[in-house]
């Protein structure tokens, strides 16, 4: 039912050379290896260190899959600059390692951005009830670390709870001189209207709470992302369909992107993520929810493993009130396009010229 709601428009002309050939989920033992080898031979003289190491690791098929693949991973290049063969190889390598690690068949998808698609997101701030189902669905879908120590618990979505303040009539005359005798009204320092100081640590008995509104935030997938600009190794970049992604294998953990992000969307894996085997989501994307490693930065990627297959992000799917909308901004008939055209829409921190593709609206 959800699949029908978000049809990705595929213009017939110029199919991307790489995208159609990619299997949605390569089987580590069969398809991935075969593709890798065939593409490798096809690629001829291109003998980068990574392909040599990777192919060696795949061909030996040693029992110690983890050690062999991890060794090869150390020498692989930046994902964006890899050839199709190298990409397939890198993914097959990860599939082998993760399958062994988590004791189930893990797939690492590599579906590329499709032409004619620019992903966009719209959130109805009036509808949100602050239940945080999106936060938890996101953690489960995207294999975030869920330990108990402070650095081990990672959530990509924060639902900010904002109080409604009031301007009371009784206080009007209760003025007092402040500082150098400047007269201040009784309502001067009282919160009024919607207080834009959010708090995401809240434990309500029931939602929605009286006197509170909610403002969920996550990565805004900026069109002019400050994080991409500051990255010294270009490990984080904007994909052609608008999503800002991270090649976790290329990240050096310098955290410049975290300093540069005005939305506090990025998280650091301070230690090896705590991801129980039984809770691990085996359907992954290379630039998306595949398990991360120690010392790298991660963030929301609009569930690339789902959205590139024409599905909704987990947060959109789980939202009980339909506050979250997702679609193709280049398709005038898509839900987000209609919202942008007809509703009252705003972007967060628009003054910083980051041009988010995450929009807020109200009816």
């Amino acid at each position: 039912m959800f699949r029908k709601k978000f049809p990705i428009t595929k213009p017939p002309q110029e199919p991307s050379p790489e995208s159609p050939a990619q299997p949605a989920s390569a089987d580590p033992s069969e398809a991935g290896v075969k593709t890798a080898r065939r593409d490798f031979l096809k690629a001829g003289g291109m003998l980068s260190m990574s392909s040599l190491m990777g192919t060696a690791a795949l061909m030996t098929m040693s029992d110690d899959a983890k050690a062999a693949t991890e060794w090869a991973e150390h020498f692989q290049g930046n994902y964006r600059l890899m050839t199709a063969a190298e990409k397939a190889e890198a993914r097959a390598r990860l599939e082998r390692r993760h399958s062994a690690e988590y004791g189930k068949k893990v797939t690492v998808d590599g579906t590329e951005a499709q032409p004619g698609v620019l992903m966009g997101y719209a959130l109805n701030v009036r509808k949100c009830i602050g239940c945080r189902r999106c936060v938890h669905a996101c953690v489960e879908e995207n294999n975030q670390s869920r330990g108990t120590r402070p650095g081990e618990k990672i959530e990509w979505i924060q639902v900010l709870r904002m109080e409604r303040g009031e301007f009371s009539k009784e206080k009007m005359k209760q003025g007092y001189p402040e500082g150098l005798g400047i007269q201040v009204g009784g309502n001067a320092y009282t919160p009024v209207g919607q207080v834009l100081e959010g708090q995401y640590h809240y434990a309500p008995e029931a939602v929605p709470e009286k006197d509170a509104t909610y403002m969920p935030i996550a990565c805004m997938q900026c069109e002019k992302p400050p994080c991409v600009k500051v990255c010294p190794v270009r490990t984080t970049y904007r994909e052609p369909d608008g999503v800002v992604v991270i090649d976790y294998n290329w990240c050096i953990g310098c955290r410049m992107c975290m300093s540069a992000c005005p939305y506090w969307a990025r998280r650091m894996n301070l230690t090896t993520p705590v991801l129980p085997k039984e809770d691990m989501n085996p359907v992954t994307h290379y630039l998306g929810n595949r398990p991360r490693m120690r010392g790298v930065v991660e963030k929301c990627h609009w569930c690339l493993q789902r959205t590139r297959q024409g599905r909704y992000p987990a947060c959109v799917e789980v939202c009980p009130v339909g506050a979250r909308k997702f679609g193709n901004l280049l398709d005038p008939a898509s839900e987000v396009s209609v919202i942008l055209a007809r509703k009252n829409v705003f972007r967060l921190k628009a003054d910083l010229n980051t041009f988010p593709k995450f929009f807020y609206f109200y009816d």
Partner: protein, 422 residues
């Protein structure tokens, strides 16, 4: 080539021989270095969870010391500039010592880069051609470029000069002087770029102002010479090299001016930010008075300010500035004040509150403190070796003699043999 090998071996032989005091000092540093290695091992097996860093405050002691030490490195120019541009003779005699300090400071910066990275094993990703070097977009990439360039320049200038002295040949001025002038401008660039690195992020309003580069340079030209004066006084006391009073006096004059301007800039920032007291001033307000009941940095800020003001007053008074006992006290106060101001007082409150308004505090762990101390120790270890060898050559105890070199113990109580510039 034969001469070069001799130079290296004589240099090291001379630098590594010393009295009890010397070995005790080096041993003490070695212990700290060993602890830092342990901390570094933990960071790269368990991860940076062993530090006090969080996703809210993800840069702490390491970045703070990195920024400060870039300033110390740049501070060496306070010797090079008077020596070669104003032709100050007293300074000219000790230029090499300043350059050695710059080399050690840049090496310390690199150590802190290693400690700061989440994945230091992947640093090769930054090497052009093998990896990707995000130029000109990334300020961090520019910083790496200027720091490495500065290291190379100082290394070349210092060791070329010493080598010429060692072999008794003349310095080729056509090669040497352009390098010196480039290194003077380059010194300004390293601190400017480091300031740009953190000042170009509107996400962090506390850092987002154009005063940052000049403030960095002023504090650098105060903190750098403070350390240099302290080192000079130690050299005067413990080696046969005599550093002229004139050099030290010129440095303390430079400190006076730069510290004064630095204090003025601090005051300007406080007035501009707190007069309007917008949300963007929250970081500074947290630093000065605390926010939402969290006051972790308040004592740091006020002690730094007190140190700097007291030091400034002391430097202003000529009797104290030239007093052999009070001058080092003023230097230590200024150095400590600037270290706090540019370390804990600049980097940490940049993250408080976070861009979404969360106020948390930063508590460095023992491991983090240990790695920091160990990095400083390794820097001083290198600095001691570099300075000792350089002094040996400058006072003529290490000379090219076709293989055989006499080497004397210099760390004894050898008193003040006046050094005459040859």
């Amino acid at each position: 080539m034969h001469k070069l090998i001799n130079f290296a071996s004589d240099y090291m032989c001379y630098a590594l021989k010393g009295g009890t005091k010397f070995y005790a000092w080096m041993g003490f540093l070695a212990v700290l270095i060993a602890y830092a290695l342990y901390g570094f091992y933990l960071q790269n097996t368990e991860g940076q969870i062993v530090t006090g860093l969080t996703s809210q405050i993800h840069d702490g002691l390491y970045l703070a010391n990195l920024v400060f030490l870039v300033g110390v490195a740049a501070g060496a120019v306070t010797i090079v500039f008077p020596a070669y541009v104003s032709h100050n003779k007293a300074m000219h005699e000790v230029t090499v010592l300043g350059e050695m300090l710059a080399i050690s400071a840049v090496l310390m910066v690199m150590l802190f880069v290693f400690a700061h990275m989440g994945r230091p094993d992947r640093l090769w990703h930054m090497i052009p051609y093998i990896g990707i070097y995000n130029m000109p977009g990334s300020m961090l990439a520019w910083d790496v470029l200027v720091l490495n360039g500065y290291l190379l320049l100082n290394f070349t200038c210092a060791f070329y000069y010493l080598y010429a002295k060692y072999t008794g040949s003349e310095v080729n001025k056509k090669v040497f002087m352009p390098l010196v002038y480039i290194s003077i401008v380059w010194a300004l660039s390293i601190h400017t770029v480091t300031a740009f690195m953190i000042a170009t992020m509107p996400a962090r309003p506390m850092w987002f102002h154009s005063m940052m580069p000049i403030r960095f340079i002023m504090t650098a030209f105060a903190a750098g010479p403070c350390l240099i004066i302290l080192i000079f006084l130690i050299i005067r006391k413990n080696t046969r090299m005599w550093i002229q009073d004139e050099a030290i006096q010129l440095l303390s004059t430079i400190i006076t001016w730069c510290l004064g301007i630095a204090l003025f800039l601090t005051m300007s920032e406080i007035v501009v930010e707190l007069y309007a007291r917008t949300e963007h001033a929250n970081g500074l307000y947290y630093l000065m008075f605390g926010l939402h009941g969290l006051t972790g940095l308040v004592p740091w800020f006020w002690s730094a300010l007190a140190f700097m003001i007291i030091a400034f007053v002391m430097f202003l008074v000529p009797a104290i500035r030239t007093h052999p006992k009070w001058l080092p006290v003023a230097c230590v106060l200024a150095f400590a004040g600037i270290w706090i101001e540019k370390g804990m007082g600049l980097i940490v409150p940049g993250f408080i509150p976070t861009p979404i308004g969360e106020v948390t505090e930063y508590y460095p762990t023992l491991i983090e403190v240990g790695v920091t101390l160990g990095n400083w120790a390794l820097g001083f270890f290198i600095l001691t070796i570099l300075l000792k060898g350089a002094i040996g050559i400058l006072i003529g105890e290490v000379k090219y003699q076709g293989g055989a070199t006499k080497s004397n113990d210099v760390t004894g109580s050898g008193k003040t043999v006046a050094y005459e510039a040859s």
